[in-house]
């Protein structure tokens, strides 16, 4: 990345792999389990969190010298909740259909622990530009895992991707279904999301042994 210094580009690239918020920091698991039954929902959630985390990180970073340390968690919560509510109101007024799509995600964004985690761990101690990059990077790392989980859950659970019937039609028995293949309904339930996340963590740590924690 020519635009960014080496230190800055690390902020974006690290969370994609060796410091991934879901698989390494184990943050944001709840929403990763809740909304990954479909690829589309994963993508929407990833982008929403990216917007909120990048802007929120900048706001917290700008305020980092005036926030009283005793109530900093409350201040962080207020910032993210206010941000999300305002964005939601603006969308409801000017882009109603989009806001309908996002409505379920709003509550999940506010409670996403990645957001509070990055405010606390990064934005309170760094300048706005670096905080912005950190927000983008961590949200991208989060989105990446969501997309991978969403891809497998939708493909194996419903036989579709983004709503397209890529494996054929299960009712008309075409494509793979003509050979006796069946969708695995279990993939649609949350336990399988946890197992898929577990498999990703397993694969990642066996490829990079340095990530395995000491006991």
């Amino acid at each position: 990345m020519g635009l960014l210094s080496k230190k800055d580009s690390k902020l974006i690239l690290d969370p994609l792999a060796d410091n991934n918020p879901i698989t390494i920091q184990v943050l944001g698991i709840c929403s990763a389990l809740a909304i990954t039954a479909e690829l589309k929902a994963s993508i929407v959630m990833g982008l929403s969190v990216m917007a909120v985390l990048a802007i929120g990180n900048v706001v917290i970073s700008l305020m980092r010298n005036i926030i009283p340390s005793k109530i900093r968690i409350i201040v962080q919560l207020v910032v993210v909740a206010a941000l999300v509510i305002i964005v939601d109101l603006v969308l409801k007024a000017y882009s109603y259909q989009l806001s309908k799509t996002l409505s379920v995600f709003v509550g999940l964004i506010i409670t996403n622990c990645i957001i509070m985690g990055r405010f606390e761990a990064f934005a309170l101690a760094n300048g706005p530009w670096r905080s912005f990059l950190d927000g983008i990077g961590n949200a991208a790392g989060y989105a990446l895992i969501l997309v991978i989980v969403g891809f497998f859950r939708e493909l194996l659970g419903s036989g579709t991707l983004l709503g397209f019937k890529v494996l054929g039609d299960p009712i008309e028995k075409t494509g793979l279904y003509a050979l006796g293949y069946e969708n695995n309904g279990f993939m649609l339930l949350s336990p399988m999301a946890l197992i898929v996340v577990g498999i990703i963590i397993w694969v990642q740590r066996s490829r990079n042994k340095a990530l395995i924690e000491d006991h």
Binding site: A37, M45, S69, I71, I74, V78, V90, A93, Y96, S103
Partner: protein, 249 residues
């Protein structure tokens, strides 16, 4: 060591008060300033939903497309011939019946002396008359609601369902074509008695060829939302049956 300014109690309290005032004012302003537009969007959405249920929509294969918002008002007045409010035995015509808030009516109906107002929309398409019934119920996380269009023989012509916060990819799919399209042609009556339509797992009829079974395939992984739809139809449509029966004769 000098005490940090931001650690003082007085500073903390002042900061908290200031933050509450600023954020409160900001949110109140945003909410008030955008309210007229949001209310208008919601009003048009109701018209779009009612039209959708009776099959007046811009659907292409697989996707749900409403009549665009800039056209919906005129299309609504073209297709919806009458808006009725049923109050006990009385039936009144009211051009703003679609604005009746079902949630508020349900709350008021808790009072036994209150006669609940039931809005009903009479639409006409290709020379056929449809009765569109609004309903409201509970899903897994929050409210679900919908509209069901029936003809005078009480056979379903179409439905529209929506939800406030069902699980994306699972219960949230009640507003998808593959679920809603199944309702077309189903009967809600068994002879002279009302049975509704069960959204059930044991249907064994994925192509939905059997239109007399009062059953629709449930959504995989969304049992409670599916049950919520069943209950909503039983209760919501059930209230209209006494009136709808009078049409049949």
């Amino acid at each position: 060591m000098m005490e940090n300014r931001t650690d003082k109690n007085s500073y903390t309290i002042l900061f908290a008060i200031g933050m509450v005032l600023v954020v409160g004012a900001l949110l109140a302003y945003a909410s008030e300033a955008l309210k007229p537009k949001i209310t208008e969007n919601k009003r048009l959405e109701i018209q779009q939903n009612i039209l959708y249920a009776m099959g007046v929509n811009d659907n292409e294969d697989g996707s749900v497309n409403f009549i665009p918002t800039n056209k919906v008002a005129s299309v609504f007045s073209k297709y919806i011939k009458k808006q009725l409010v049923i109050e006990g035995d009385k039936v009144i015509e009211d051009d703003n019946a679609y604005l009746i808030d079902l949630k508020k009516e349900e709350a008021k109906a808790a009072d036994p002396n209150y006669t609940r107002r039931l809005p009903l929309f009479v639409g006409e398409k290709d020379g056929q008359t449809f009765y569109i019934i609004p309903m409201r119920g509970k899903g897994l996380w929050d409210a679900i609601w919908g509209y069901m269009a029936v003809d005078k023989n009480l056979i379903v012509d179409g439905v529209y369902f929506d939800h406030k916060g069902e699980t994306p990819g699972l219960g949230a799919n009640i507003n998808q074509r593959f679920f809603m399209d199944d309702f077309k042609g189903e009967e809600i009556m068994n002879g002279n008695s009302f049975v509704g339509i069960d959204v059930t797992k044991g249907n064994n009829d994925p192509k939905n060829d059997d239109k007399d079974d009062h059953e629709i395939d449930a959504l995989a992984g969304a049992t409670i939302t599916s049950n919520g739809v069943t209950a909503m139809i039983k209760k919501g449509v059930g209230m209209y049956i006494p009136y709808l029966k009078t049409l049949k004769n």
